[in-house]
Amino acid sequence: MPDPLTENEQWILSFYRTSEINGALFFGRLARAMKPGPIQRDMTKHFADESQHAWYWTECINRMGAEPLKLSQAYQDKYLEAAGIPANIMEVLALTQTFEKRVIAQYARHSRIVDLQPEVLDTFNKIIDDEKWHIEWVGKALKSMEGEYGRDTIAESLERYRKVDEEVYGAILKEHEQRVAELMRGRGNHAEGKGPWPWPV
């Protein structure tokens, strides 16, 4: 039987799960609304991945003898609160690009905590390659939109969301300072850098 999750670990893994569910719902809705073409295709794969990741976290938490917590808010809500509603697909993808980079950095750093339970590590390993592909396809899609929106406008959107990302993550760090510290103390605190978690990109 694996080591049981602490309440803090259960909360953090549930937070990941909730974020993946929200990502799936968001991209699912957009994929449904999009016209046929490569962006519609990749967005459909993206939302299928996010759904799968939500299942992986559910399964992981269950395998460790716990149930996922019902959490009301995920990262995405905080991004939308801070950044306002993206007005078009280009802005949605610019926000997604920033967000996915943050997620992959966070998952990668969490996965490097020494003495991490194998079930959690296995879940990170299953997810991270998909997350890399998300950054890749969104980057290509943004490039393909340069003719319609202009390269400078796209760059401005990316920069605006990068600033929002810093702001939102700063707030998340502050809000969950104790949870972060406990996570790091709980299983050795030997992760690279030993700094606060989740770390900046």
Binding site: R29, L30, A33, D77, A83, G84, I85, N88, V92
Partner: protein, 77 residues
């Protein structure tokens, strides 16, 4: 586009009676999740053949705000 027509489209998308879309109602009070608004705004643009940017939406908080912004874009086409 006529304001009434725009509100009818929004009501149909949100599956709400049009009477609920009064000008002073906050958009966030009409939906359970904010990303439903993202989808609605994108669909309205596709339907109406207009393009909005985030700067256009910055001041938008209420149904009336959104109707005015979309209507002005439609008129300027």
């Amino acid at each position: 586009m006529a304001v009434a027509g725009l509100k009818a489209r929004m009501a149909a998308f949100l599956k709400l009676p049009e009477e609920k879309l009064k000008d002073d109602v906050l958009l966030t009070d009409l939906v359970t999740e904010s990303f439903i608004l993202v989808e609605m705004v994108i669909e309205l643009q596709d339907d109406l053949g207009i393009q909005l940017m985030q700067d256009d939406l910055k001041p938008v908080r209420t149904v009336g705000d959104l109707v005015r912004v979309i209507d002005s874009k439609g008129s300027s086409r």
